[in-house]
Amino acid sequence: MTKKFEPKIVSFLCKWCSYTGADLAGINRSQYPTAVLPIKVMCSSRIDPVFLIKSYLRGADGVLVGG
């Protein structure tokens, strides 16, 4: 395998703030790494610590919670 390592960051984003913020970054054409893989949640308080552990066990290189 010669493929360069590309990390994957599972990102739980609150529908009301950070998910909208991620949209705005796009509208603004602000560039950031493709590593961020957003998952929309209704509120960051929805996030169970289990989600983070499961993401890591599944192989995620990082987890980001935005709320």
Binding site: A25, G26, T34, L57, G59, A60
Partner: protein
């Protein structure tokens, strides 16, 4: 019986206009929202942050903007102007002119390629001309409607007949140069005006150097500089050397409180605006020193003084009470300010940058608009309205809100907008709206227990996605994902053709779940949900992958990685889709009656408004008399408050829809929006009454502060303003008042009570004026900290100064001292010693009477009311609204509203507006027979729930509680907002959030092709 119509027009789509349109639309009225510019939103989108919460302005406004564009009852007319309003209230005939936009809004996908290629560059007024935009442009990034428009004055083709580049580059073929202006005729019952304000242009003041010196800017320009989406990307630099400023000066009242330019009014918002900018700038630039040059700091709103104190103590903002007379520019671009203290001292100080806190003034074109609409303007050119009818213009059927008739900040604008709607309902036909009959809804294909058959659609969005992402590869890749039966790419998934294809495929392929990879669910999810519903699928069987806003646009230079990410996002969406379940939105019946607690001015106005709209009202008053605090107000600058109070009492007592309970207390309120049950008890007879109602309005008022300061209570010559006003009315004083001293801020703005009572400065000015008119030779001294006669109240302050009243400044560190002239004789008069920090000297006054401007205190039993309704109080013990800026009369709990002094200190006209607003917000519920609960709410697995009650503590909306008999948690569908906090808190895994279940979320990230896999679960 007046004429009534089912339609209304709102002119001006700033925050006030948007709120008015939304409230009307929610009552079932068809609204035409007319806006002169190319977008709705008004001034708020230009603001970076809002005080005193530092909320991002656009973030809080955007949901209201999208709601108005999606609302089936609202038609937005951008680039439109009202030409004429003819006819009678209830049956106005309106003519509006809609300018040509030269872009087909149905086709434009807002990609912005046209603007990039447009050879013309014009000043961008949204960014206060600090940036350029194309002749074809979108007003700002999140403008709504999102489509581009062409500026016909600037477009090369439309002016010179050459260019046509935008037509060539537009991937959607949306350009139409042949577009023409249109005249539209409408029939409406009522008109609400909310055309807003302009900021003062400081070019008038040559001494301040605006436009002459590069580093002198206005507060609105500075706001754009601070904004992350602004011309400097939020990195404030000086214009001459592009370095960060180290010192910053704000100059207040530029164009306000200035008789020389006929602006003898206070713009109300600029003090807080400047404090906010100073705070934000300090956060942006490390080590920045800000100074604010001011006359009085008018931080009179709810929680404003805490913000002001924070600026001083936490951010080190310096406040200098002096007048800047001149600014000069130095060689290095820095600026030297010459300023004069009240005692005549002249000082000089150097700053890197100067911000002019420009005042608010009537919009350009107001006289012409007034003529077209046949409405009158006031002495300053604002729309004219009266103290007791602050929402009506001089023409019946035309109402006014926002800053169009007086300077207002955002929450006041929102309040006035909802209030104006209540006024307008007089000429609108409101029928109680039914939900569409379930029989009429398309029959849904049952999916429970059926194997998922997913259809995936990948949108090109012209070249917006396809220009970066290999769309075909994403669609091809999706075919191999589990449960995907069909996958294809579409040029524009949201176009009518695209939507038809999706519906066709659902039928052909028996699809039972749909995934669209496209722009963003924020704007397009409702449309796609509706579409699959038309094809017979439950709307919740839809999932969207965000591959434009969060992929192609954010990774423009990495097409391969963006394609890989799109595949991942698609896999995640498919992973979730296979777990999706059909969800029902349960209807909740709404009882059309209302409970109003408190029959002061606010409670009575709210009751009168709701009863006039045909709703039964239970009005409960603790005291034997109606009127609350208004019973103590006898003067209001030439208008008689008692006459108005008597009018309201008569209206309330004689309205058959109002069930009045005096001398009665509310003991218990149970239930939720649409279905409250309340128990009241008559205080003497102990007679209990129970009734049902759909909404609750809290109008419980406030108390006069009981002070022990300044020898209050020791002599009859030391009184409060309320007591003094009664003496003025009866013309009876304990001692002939030849010299009177008034002390301001007694019990306000100090440690533990860090809020301004807002009304006391005006009250002191009012009572002093009455006294001076009654006995012109009386000497009056007002001992104050900041005179906060905001808005048009400023005039009364200057008039009083002209009448020869003395104003003596004091600081809280050295409060005035009061002694009796003869300690043995309480009526001998009082000596007041004040240290004036600005004049740097002690002033001694011997007075016959001392009047204390005592604070407005929250009711001590607010906590009981709060507990009964499970609504919050703030740190001061005042009721806390759902959102300080945009939901000022709502509580986070649906169906409960707030008005009057219970919300915070305010003047009569403000209480009145707020009461109308609360009634109007209540009407948006009362006017519906049913509302639909959200589908995405918490569900309880009864067999797992142990009834521990953790969820109950966690829930911010009181939507979940443990049933004492069943001993398990029960969710109230009407109250649940679907945040999922309870789910995360549940220790036994008994809770789950529909639409975002654990299974669905696991499946989302499990579907990711992650690098390594650890087989543990």
């Amino acid at each position: 019986m007046s004429l009534k119509s089912r339609s209304a027009m709102v002119v001006g789509a700033g925050i006030a206009g948007i709120q008015a349109a939304l409230d009307l639309a929610d009552m079932g009225v068809k609204v035409h929202l007319i806006e002169e510019s190319a977008t709705i939103g008004g001034r708020m989108p230009q603001l970076d942050k809002t005080f005193p919460t530092n909320d991002c302005s656009m973030c809080i406004l955007a949901p209201k903007m999208s709601e108005s564009v999606r609302h089936p009852n609202i038609t937005i007319h951008i680039k439109s102007k009202v030409e004429s309003v003819e006819g009678l209230p209830g049956d106005f005939k309106v003519k509006i002119i809609e300018e040509a936009k030269y872009v087909d809004p149905e086709k434009c996908v807002s990609c912005g390629i046209c603007e990039d290629k447009c050879p013309v560059k014009v000043d961008d007024e949204f960014d206060m001309n600090l940036r350029k935009r194309g002749a074809i442009s979108r007003y700002f990034l999140q403008s709504i409607p999102a489509e581009y428009t062409i500026d016909k004055e600037k477009c090369l083709y439309l002016t010179k007949g050459v260019c046509k580049i935008c037509e060539k580059v537009c991937p959607a073929g949306a350009i139409r140069y042949e577009d023409v202006d249109k005249t539209i005729e409408l029939s409406v019952g009522a008109v609400i005006l909310s055309t807003g304000i302009d900021t003062f242009n400081p070019i008038h003041f040559g001494n301040l150097g605006y436009k002459r010196f590069s580093n002198v800017v206005t507060s609105l320009e500075f706001e754009r500089m601070l904004s992350a989406s602004g011309p400097m990307g939020g990195h404030v630099v000086k214009f001459n050397d592009h370095k960060e400023p180290k010192t910053l000066a704000f100059i207040q009242c530029v164009g306000s409180r200035d008789e020389s330019i006929d602006h003898n009014y206070c713009s109300s918002a600029c003090c807080m605006f400047a404090i906010k900018e100073a705070i934000i700038a300090t956060e942006h630039i490390k080590g920045l020193k800000s100074s604010i040059f001011y006359m009085d700091i008018r931080a009179f709103g709810k929680d404003f003084d805490k913000y002001y104190e924070n600026a001083k103590n936490k951010y080190g903002v310096q406040f200098i009470k002096s007048k800047v007379s001149d600014i000069s520019e130095n060689e290095d671009g820095s600026l030297t300010l010459k300023y004069v203290y009240e005692n005549g001292d002249i000082q000089y100080k150097e700053f890197d940058m100067v911000v002019l806190a420009v005042g608010l003034q009537p919009r350009k074109g107001m006289p012409e608009l007034a003529e077209k609409l046949d409405i009158k303007l006031n002495e300053y050119g604002f729309c004219r309205s009266d103290a007791y009818t602050p929402l009506t213009t001089s023409r019946e059927g035309i109402y006014v809100c926002g800053a169009m008739n007086a300077p207002k900040d955002i929450p006041e604008s929102v309040v006035s907008a909802s209030g104006a709607v209540a006024e307008a309902t007089k000429y609108l036909r409101l029928e109680r709206q039914k939900l569409t009959d379930p029989k009429d809804a398309p029959k849904e294909i049952p999916v429970a227990g059926v194997r998922p058959r997913i259809g995936t659609f990948v949108c090109h969005c012209g070249i917006n996605i396809a220009g970066v992402v290999d769309v075909k590869a994403v669609a091809e890749n999706a075919k191999d994902l589990p449960n995907v039966e069909h996958s294809e790419d579409l040029m524009y998934a949201c176009s009518p053709d695209g939507l038809d294809i999706i519906k066709k495929r659902i039928k052909e392929q028996n699809l039972n779940r749909v995934v669209v990879a496209a722009c963003t669910p924020r704007t397009h999810e409702p449309l796609f949900r509706e579409t699959i519903n038309e094809a017979g699928l439950n709307p919740y069987l839809f999932e969207m992958a965000n591959i434009r806003d969060q992929c192609s646009w954010a990774h423009q230079n990495e097409p391969e990685l963006a394609t890989e990410k799109s595949k991942d996002l698609m896999a995640m969406a498919v992973g979730k889709a296979k777990e999706l379940k059909a969800l029902d939105r349960l209807p909740i019946d709404i009882n059309p009656k209302a409970l109003i607690v408190g029959a002061g001015l606010a409670g009575m106005v709210a009751a009168d408004t709701l009863a006039t709209a045909g709703h039964e009202v239970y009005l409960v008053e603790r005291e034997n008399k109606l009127g609350g605090n208004m019973r103590n107000i006898f003067f209001n600058f030439g208008k008689d408050p008692q006459k108005h109070l008597a009018d309201y009492i008569e209206r309330v007592e004689n309205n058959k829809h109002i069930h009045l309970y005096k001398n009665t207390e509310v003991k218990k309120i149970d239930g939720y929006v649409g279905n409250f049950e309340t128990l009241i008890v008559e205080k003497e007879s102990k007679k209990e009454t129970t009734f049902d109602h759909g909404v609750t309005i809290i109008a419980t008022g406030a108390d006069e502060h009981e002070t022990q300061e300044y020898k209050y209570g020791e002599t009859s010559t030391i009184v409060t303003q309320v007591e003094f006003e009664r003496m003025l009315k009866n013309k009876k004083f304990p001692k002939k008042p030849k010299t009177v001293v008034m002390i301001q801020c007694v019990g306000s703005r100090e440690e533990g009570k860090m809020y301004c009572s807002r009304i006391c400065c005006t009250k002191a000015v009012k009572n002093a004026s009455v006294l001076k008119d009654m006995m012109p030779n009386t000497n009056v001294y007002i001992v104050y900290r900041d005179m906060r006669t905001y808005g048009f109240r400023e005039k009364y302050y200057t008039e009083l100064r002209d009448k020869g009243t003395m104003f003596v400044h004091y600081s809280p560190e050295k409060k005035p001292e009061v002694t009796l002239v003869d300690e043995m004789n309480p009526d001998s008069g009082v000596n007041v010693t004040v240290f004036d920090p600005i004049m740097d000297k002690e002033v001694q006054i011997t007075a016959d009477m001392l009047v204390l401007s005592v604070a407005v205190d929250p009711k001590k039993d607010n906590i009981d009311t709060a507990r009964m309704l499970k609504i919050p109080l703030n740190a001061d013990g005042v009721f806390l609204e759902a959102h300080a800026k945009l939901r000022p009369v709502d509580f986070a709990t649906d169906g409960v509203f707030l008005c009057g002094l219970a919300h915070g200190p305010k003047d009569m006209d403000e209480s009145l507006m707020q009461a109308k607003a609360a009634a109007s917000r209540a009407l948006t519920f009362l006017n519906k027979k049913q509302i639909l609960a959200e589908g995405t709410i918490t569900e309880v697995n009864d067999t797992r729930c142990t009834g521990c009650g953790y969820c109950e503590i966690t829930c911010a909306y009181n939507a979940i509680a443990v049933d004492p008999e069943k001993e398990i948690a029960i969710v109230n569908d009407a109250l649940c907002k679907g945040c999922g906090a309870c789910v995360a808190s549940c220790r036994c895994g008994a809770l789950d959030l529909r639409g975002f279940t654990n299974e669905q979320l696991y499946s989302t990230f499990d579907s990711l092709a992650l690098t390594e896999e650890l087989e543990i679960f």
